[in-house]
């Protein structure tokens, strides 16, 4: 029994689903961020699997850019969360009504 690319793609789909469900059911903004990271990792895994299946190094290049953009996203997102949580400690995603001012 050999490990084919489809195994990796199924695992990637499962990881993406867990990340998406987590994003929907968790309320702490930090944990929601972690779930977004899970989804990004699932996509990276499928890119690398396709890269190997097709013998094309381009898929790995895309993963490189995804890593950089994920790092940027975390930096800016956490800065926003820090700015919000200083004003409203214990804030959750349900408190969107605060945006009314």
């Amino acid at each position: 029994m050999a490990v084919t690319g489809t195994w990796y793609l199924v695992l990637s789909a499962a990881l993406f689903t867990i990340g998406g469900v987590g994003l929907l059911i968790r309320r702490n903004p930090l944990v929601m961020f972690m779930c977004v990271e899970l989804m990004l990792n699932a996509v990276n895994l499928s890119f690398v699997a396709f890269s190997r299946m097709l013998g094309d190094i381009g898929g790995q290049s895309v993963v490189f850019f995804v890593l950089v953009v994920a790092a940027v996203e975390v930096v800016v997102g956490l800065a926003i969360i820090v700015a919000i949580m200083r004003r409203q400690p214990e804030v959750t995603a349900d408190d969107l009504a605060l945006l009314k001012g």
Partner: protein, 181 residues
């Protein structure tokens, strides 16, 4: 056989960590589960001969991003436990689970039915097998994607400046208050 073993162990670590992020009430424990997932993904990268990306995955994700998460938790003193038994929007959790399950089944069906036709024809930038993974990836990045590399550099600079501006507002307002006193 060894390949199957590596895949099964790696997949178990990945899915276990992901379920930990999903289910553990404590934010700190969720962050540590995230490290397990990232490490498992790095193992699977090695299994697929993407050695450079595996190293970068460990350095950037586990070394920088998760540490940043933990640092923010420490800085803010986030309430460690989220009460998962309360459901503010009735039925939302069930809907999320059903939607996620349907999504997974849909992708699974496409993968199983599509089989080998799914991937289409072979790509056009074949890796040079005489070169290492790092050499061929670097060559691809700095020839075909050189503009994207430059744009990414600008993006990183903008993000750093933006983070300083966002977090620094607080300090500026403190200074102004002290000056008016």
């Amino acid at each position: 056989m060894v390949e199957v073993l590596v895949f099964v162990i790696g997949a178990a670590i990945v899915l276990g960590g992901a379920l930990g992020v999903l289910l553990l009430p404590s934010t700190n424990q969720a962050a540590l589960s995230l490290i397990a997932t990232l490490f498992g993904v790095a193992v699977l990268f090695v299994a697929q001969e993407a050695h450079f990306l595996a190293a970068v995955q460990i350095i950037v994700y586990a070394g920088a991003i998760v540490v940043l998460f933990l640092f923010v938790m420490m800085l803010l003193g986030v309430k460690s436990n989220e009460d998962l038994s309360v459901e503010p929007l009735p039925g939302q959790r069930i809907a999320a689970l059903v939607g996620g399950g349907l999504f997974f089944l849909m992708v699974l069906a496409v993968l199983v039915v599509g089989g080998t036709e799914l991937t289409g024809s072979l790509g056009n930038t074949f890796p040079d097998l005489t070169q290492s993974n790092l050499a061929s990836l670097g060559k691809n990045l700095f020839t075909e994607h050189i503009f994207a590399v430059q744009a990414t550099a600008i993006l990183l600079t903008v993000a750093v400046v933006g983070a300083v501006v966002l977090v620094g507002q607080h300090m500026n307002s403190n200074k102004k208050q002290e000056a008016t006193k």
